[in-house]
Amino acid sequence: MSFGGQRVLIHEIMSLQILITAIIGALAIAGLYWGGQWVLQKNYSRWAMQWTDELHELGAPLYLPYGEEVTLRLERYIDKYQEIDNVAFYRADGSPLMAVANSDDAPPVRPAEMSDALLAEVTTLIGADRPYLMSSSLLDIQRFTIYAPIWTASIASDGLFDFDPLADESDASMELVGFLALELNFSEFHENLLKNIKLAILALLVLLIVSGFLGRMSLRRALRAISDLQQPIAELAKGNLSVKFKPAAHREISEIVEALESTATALGERDAKLLRLANHDPLTGLFNRRRFVDELEKLADSPSASKDLGALFFVDLDQFKYVNDTCGHPAGDRLIKTVAERLRATVGDQGVVARFGGDEFAILVPGVGKRDAMKLADLILEDMRQLSHIEDENVIHVHCSIGVTIIRAGEATNDDLIAQADIACREAKARGRNRAEFYRVSKRETQQMAADVGWMRKLREAIDKDLFLLRFQPVVHIASGQTSHHEVLLRLKMDDGQIVGPDMFITAAVRFGLMAEIDAWMIEHALEAHVQYRENDPGLRLAINLSANAFETEDLAGYVAAQLRKRDITPDRIVFEITENLAVRHLSHVERQVAALREMGCEVALDDFGKGYSSLGYIQQLSFDYIKIDGSFIKNLVKNPVDQKMVRLIAEIGREAGMKTIAEYVQSGPAFSLLAELGVDYAQGFYVGKPIAVPRHRTLPVALASKRRKHRVADKSGA
């Protein structure tokens, strides 16, 4: 049953109730009828048995000389029972002897001869426990005839002297003397029964209707409390978490109400947390890029009499990398927090301050023109100059460069405005840092901005339309020459068919906040590729690069685990690579994420190791499976002894730390052989294998040094 296209619970329950009741009622009626029939038949049978027994006694015509007295006794007897139509007696050969009818008005009965079959059947009943044949069934119990054999018996001649009354019948002989046929008519009795059954059925139907009506009423009353929940639940679904639920009288409904209230509370708390996470930078508590863009859109859409809607500031700290490298990244983070507080204090209620990532901040100040904007920029610069951050008893002064652009209605998109401010900021840096520059439309700047915005659009399109490509570059185990795994590399196919590497678009992707989506695309498509190619290469393992944005995900390991489960990939088939720069910048966060990934079963490689020379101190804090030696040490390895010493040192450090080393940028056989000599475990580069569209297992000739080392090990074992 439906109501407005939807099924109605109360109607379904009622229908079910009616159906069950109808079935039970039908069964009850059928049972009543058949049970009544059965009881009747049993009773008829019992009465008939009694009558037959008594008629045996009265059946004297068969063993007593026929006489008027016997007939009169018979008539008197059957007159007492209207159900007995007549009684007939047959001789032993089945021929009729006599009959007595019940009704005085009935014509004299002349019983027909018994058939041979009936004769034979009834004869077999002599001496039986139920010595009668009843010609009726459950379907027809109104009129039937009972046939019974009548016989005499005697005890054996000498039987009475050792007579045991408790033993079985010890009669010596039984002699059939005739048959008795009792014709019974229970029509009137049966009609009375049917009449009573009909009355019972009628009463049952009335009871069913009444119980159905009462059941409907009680159901409606019971379910009304559920219906009352509809409105507040709908409100809750709309996001109104302050909705109030009416207290319920029933315990079950009350429990649901309590659960809904708890849900609303939990949803409110989670919404608040998500909102905070979605809109704020976790380090500084400032708005993040997404929220900043929302604010920018709001400002752009707001009606204003002035042409200038406000100003957008792009703030980049000068020489912040120096602080990171010299004082450490935690110190850098603390400095960022100090700068954020200072910016917030400086801007105050005038505008909104956001952190775009790293040492980049953005400020949106509505309702200001160029002059006021410049005043504010100068104020910020002055505040920054005054800022003294103390770190380990060292006073750190940090300056900033500011790019400013004026927001005018309908002139530029949000992305354009951010790009303009960024360009202006870069101009300030180019002009000596610690200064503010207004965005000016020069030809070169216009081209740069257009390029950045163009990349942003292209990347957005690539994400939405799957225009990225994956390439697989093998990593080979130097000692065995066997392929260990493939590094998955990201490529973008341009409109002209050219395929470009990430160097071309990563900067724009980071600038426009697309790295998180690119990371997700990368993980999912790399795993899909694993599913696609593992049939041909059951041992296939892939290394996936992750950006800083990926590690900003709260539960990266959980996300990865879900993706792996979805594709039935065991975690040990996947290696994640993170850059040394990323690892040391977000040390504590990365440490936790890396530990979670490794605990799950994935392997993690530290990429570009040695590039920043700053990671040696952190190698003890972070546990990786692989260290990928930066290509700058490998490029001239064969000719440069310093590089050789560096590589040997990194290999030794890796061994000591229980990590395997991978050399990148291996482009020649001598370099490959030398790496073996230097103790590096794996190699990657054009010599080992170029990036290819389909991962393919390959085997390289084993480097000589590796063989020698093996021999030496064997010799030592032999000794």
Partner: protein, 354 residues
């Protein structure tokens, strides 16, 4: 308990009454003793005169014949010296075998043949008896009696057969010993147990006119009305019984196997119990079905009677020996409940026990 007295019949009658009263009283005091120990009732010395011939048709109520009371009891028969007696049994039924054993105990030398012995056919058994040159054949049981009737010159004594009328006695060499204890003693015992007994009924097959006459006389002597019916089948017996019940307060069941079946016997006793009609039976086992009193013969008395008849036959006095010689003793058992019932109905049986 067995009491035998041939010299003081009055005392014996008194003893019967006392014992019956005592047993009724004891049964009240010790109800677990059910049925009671049998009481052996001595009989008056057997009347060796031939009983009156059956009258056709039997008179409804023959004049009571007084039981001779002053006749000196006959001494116990002595074993037949040097005579060879063969005992032919229908089967090893205790009622037959006990009589044979009693006979053997009395005579010391008896050849016992058993028709149920499968090693010989009945004819071979009879032939082997002929070949041994025996002088008297005692046939115990109806089947044995039927077979022994073929002995033409050898005296045959039939015992433990109720329907003796079906056996040919015309040859003169066949004589019978009654299967039932004396009827007057039975009535006496019954009356002692139930002084209110006023009307007795019986149903018999044909050929028992002498029995009917004797029973009528025994009842009449005690102011008891005796009525009987003749039946031809078990159903007719039941039919007649149900119609007889309203007119009687005691039913005398005789061992006429021709008109009794197990089923009818049970129905009859149930019906009698339901209608408070006491039933005197010939077999102790029927007491458990509701019979009131059971009177049976004493094996030693039967054996004595057989020896007496045999002696007379061997002495050539066969013409004087009645076709069926009555017994003189009986054993009585009663069921507890009818006795209690009688006592509760105001009978003086209980008082007699005191």
């Amino acid at each position: 308990m067995s009491v035998t007295s041939h010299s003081q019949p009055k005392l014996a009658r008194l003893l019967v009454c006392s014992l019956l009263a005592l047993t009724a009283g004891c049964s009240t005091l010790f109800p677990e003793q059910t049925p009671e120990e049998p009481v052996v009732v001595p009989r008056l010395p057997p009347d060796l005169k031939p009983p009156p011939r059956p009258v056709e048709p039997p008179p409804p109520a023959p004049a009571p014949v007084p039981v001779p009371q002053e006749i000196e009891p006959e001494p116990a028969p002595e074993p037949i010296e040097g005579s060879k007696i063969a005992v032919l049994l229908s089967d090893r039924t205790p009622a037959f075998e006990n009589v044979a054993n009693a006979l053997a105990a009395k005579l010391g030398q008896v050849d016992i043949y058993d028709l149920s012995d499968k090693s010989l056919t009945p004819k071979e058994t009879v032939d082997s008896i002929r070949m041994t040159g025996i002088e008297v054949v005692v046939a115990i049981g109806y089947r044995a009696a039927s077979m022994a009737a073929s002995f033409e010159s050898t005296p045959v004594i039939v015992s433990q057969v109720f329907n003796v009328g079906e056996i040919d006695f015309s040859a003169g060499n066949v004589k019978g010993v009654s299967v039932l204890p004396p009827l007057d003693l039975q009535v006496e015992a019954w009356r002692a147990m139930n002084p209110n007994l006023t009307s007795i009924g019986a149903i018999l097959g044909t050929g028992h006119e002498q029995l009917i006459e004797e029973a009528t006389r025994a009842a009449a002597e005690r102011d008891i009305r005796f009525q009987y019916r003749l039946a031809q089948s078990d159903r007719e017996t039941l039919y007649l019984f149900t119609r007889l019940v309203p007119d009687i307060d005691g039913f005398w069941l005789f061992p006429d196997n021709r008109i009794l079946s197990t089923s009818i016997l049970k129905q009859l006793l149930t019906y009698a119990s339901r209608h408070r009609v006491q039933v005197a039976v010939f077999n102790d086992s029927l007491l458990s079905l509701g019979a009131t009193i059971s009177t049976t013969s004493v094996d030693a008395n039967v054996a004595d009677t057989i020896v007496t008849v045999a002696n007379r036959l061997l002495e050539g006095d066969g013409q004087e020996v009645p076709s069926v010689t009555p017994l003189s003793e009986m054993e009585v058992r009663t069921s507890r409940s009818p006795v209690e019932q009688v006592a509760s109905e105001g009978g003086d049986t209980t008082e007699g026990a005191h």
